[in-house]
Symmetry: C4
């Protein structure tokens, strides 16, 4: 019986698709609910989707706890499942619904709790094999990427402090603090350039020009790091396939040579 | 006779160049027609180009149907041609002209039909060999690219929902719904940054800064994927040339084998 | 005598540095002259620089013509030098000065002629060996890059025509013609996003979002192409160096084996 | 005693962490001090942090001078330490505190001196091994990157001069000088696009479109260069590991040699 439930939860393709569909429906409902013209007349539909979803997710959660002791990936332990990332996400995906029923809560807290429904999107990652390739690329380049972002961060601190001193007098509102200046640095170094904050003094423009040119390197760095990891990945695949293949057999005497 | 027509349609370089020229003329006319100061005095020229083009494209279309039963690429079947992408594009390139002549139509529908003329641009792809290299790169990286865009999409949903909750109160018009917020997420994550929507609260700016930095990775990912595919492509070319040179000699009897 | 002049013009490092310095001085003067507060009091300095420069460049030009018949790169022909790119640039760098002295000219024409002085910047490329590496990368990727830009151009035509039809009614001024719409397409697909033109209707925003996401691929494509060419270049260098080195000599009997 | 101090300064992990923590505290204080609402009530805390930090950094500086004559990296010379980059940064990190105590100074000079505290951030780089990998990538690609930036710079000069002539009449304030025009060129070629300056005439928009498309190549170039360097780096790592495995056997006497 427990074995059957386990197979149903983890191997039944229709069930997996059903859960995926339900998650997508939840996200769509969350987005549509933000439209006043839909929320007011059709609010009961959104409520219905929420109640039904939470019931299904709750049953699913308890079934997963029940079968955890025969799940090898969870080391056959219910506790391991409960504190695993997927277990916590499963819990956080339903808890926000029950808490306001048990405790009396401030409306603002309820609002934030409702936002936690968004975490259901991470349930999509449970069986996904295709995400692995991207995850492995980020894993391999973690060290280089984090240094690149650290260098970028120091660059931002330096440029926003300088800009605060240079532009602070000319635009006392937009460059009021180094924090304000940091907002400019982010928009500039990532080349987003909203256009809400930009230097107007000659010195400020000169600094901005230099920072922007360096910013190209700041973008080129992660791109280069990630590119190299992808190229590595493709090569490894090829090498695996090759290793088995490149042997050649002499047609005269049958000797096999590995090239 | 049919064979001659087939060769004329598919192999005659002058005819191919003529059709290409006609398509370019059509696109130029479409663009120029949007200028009121040209449309009003020279409208008859645009009409003449349209009538002549449609007549030529119609004749071409029916000739292609006629010769489809000796066209190997169409499996010598007229039906296969009719439902092939190029067959459908050929039809859609002329249909918008005839429909309003047959049926009485709402002016708005006619307007959309006129827009279908734009599809003629895809007729340019019929004989193009040079597009193949780029198409093959996209084909190979399809799996990785679609995951990258899927991850990007989830990131956008997450960030636009969060932004809607954070900035919704401070800018009730610009972040009115999650849809509005999504427009901000697109502009930010792709680093376009029009500057029509941006956060003004401290919390919103903080979230935006984090999202933007992640956005660099979002751009780096497809770049890395496409780069690696191009590098693979170059290597394969080289390997083909090399392959003729790799020979190995049997140490027992001296026979040389090409691998 | 002619041989000495040739060596002076093409091999004397001090002369080359002097000409480079003069070109940089000319560009600096051109930039500074655009400042009214400098042009008015110090106009005579700018005029002096111009006169002296033109005299030197004129003498240099005629000397180059004179020695062209012993210059192997010019096939020992003065005519070949006169019609070579460098010969034409040399001429265009001095002509704008003399024309208004000979003919009476409209002030606007003189203004454009003065702009031709900017061409002097290309004289910098005469001896530059370091530019070769970048030029060779662009040369190798020319075919792929031009297809990438052609695809990008078709994308722009398509999206700007669609946008013209979708946004034309809501923003009749900003999307007045397909030309106006094209300006939006350029700013969006290259992720510049000035923010002077952007869609305001829901349909327009949806199209813009799709176009922008495709735009990331549009940027990723040339980056990938150029990256792969640089990687190829580095490899070739390595291979050259390797070829000579990898032989190993047996310490016992002195036999040399190429690996 | 001196040896012990040396080991404490350069090898004691707790001391290194303490100095790092102090630097981070200094940067955080510098940022927070820019907020008026924090500076006014808690000014004494910022002053205390400054005084304590400077005392510690001063002691550290003199100890480093003292032990420099047994520091091999400094060639056992105190003078070498004093003029080394790290020695100068150490000095500049404390000097701004002492100067106003000794000399009477203009308030504006004091303000700039206070800004020099920012240099303390570079003290973070003293022991960092992880930065080496990024530094080595920039070192290897220095030649290519500097040519790329030189070409970019010439492109900017050309486009800003042209834009000044084309847009100068239509927007006499925004394109007042070539310097103003250069600000536009920076924002456009790096795809930041603040939106404070953009062409409004048809000719200006056309030029801008061409420049922007070239700008994509300008960004693709450094990205490609840096990507190729990262790929090289990964390969070299692999090759090192491999090198132990490549052995070749002499066909005459059977001796095996490691290459």
């Amino acid at each position: 019986m427990k074995r059957k439930t386990y197979n149903f939860l983890y191997r039944n393709k229709r069930f997996v698709k059903f859960i995926y569909g339900l998650i997508v429906l939840n996200i769509v409902a969350l987005v549509l609910e933000s439209y006043k013209e839909l929320r007011e007349p059709y609010g009961f539909i959104f409520d219905a989707i929420e109640v039904v979803s939470v019931i299904i997710f709750t049953v699913e959660y308890f079934l997963r706890i029940w079968v955890a002791d025969i799940n090898k990936r969870m080391k056959k332990s219910r506790f391991v499942f409960l504190v695993s990332p997927m277990g916590i996400i499963d819990l956080l995906a339903i808890l926000p619904f029950y808490l306001p029923l048990i405790f009396t809560m401030d409306l603002r807290v309820v609002r934030i709790l409702r936002l936690l429904r968004l975490l259901r999107i991470f349930k999509l990652g449970r069986y996904s094999k295709s995400l692995k390739s991207i995850r492995s690329v980020f894993k391999e380049t973690k060290a280089d990427l984090s240094i690149a972002f650290f260098v970028g961060f120091i660059l931002m601190i330096l440029s926003s402090t300088l800009m605060y001193y240079i532009e602070g007098e000319a635009q006392p509102e937009k460059f009021a603090t180094i924090g304000h200046s940091f907002w400019w640095a982010i928009a500039t170094l990532t080349t987003v350039g909203y256009g809400d904050v930009y230097p107007i003094t000659a010195m400020g423009k000169l600094l901005s020009a230099v920072i922007t040119l360096i910013g190209i390197g700041f973008i080129a760095l992660p791109t280069g790091i990630i590119s190299s990891a992808f190229i590595e990945k493709i090569k490894r695949k090829k090498r695996k396939r090759k290793r088995r293949k490149i042997t050649c057999t002499c047609p005269n005497c049958g000797t096999t040579i590995k090239v």
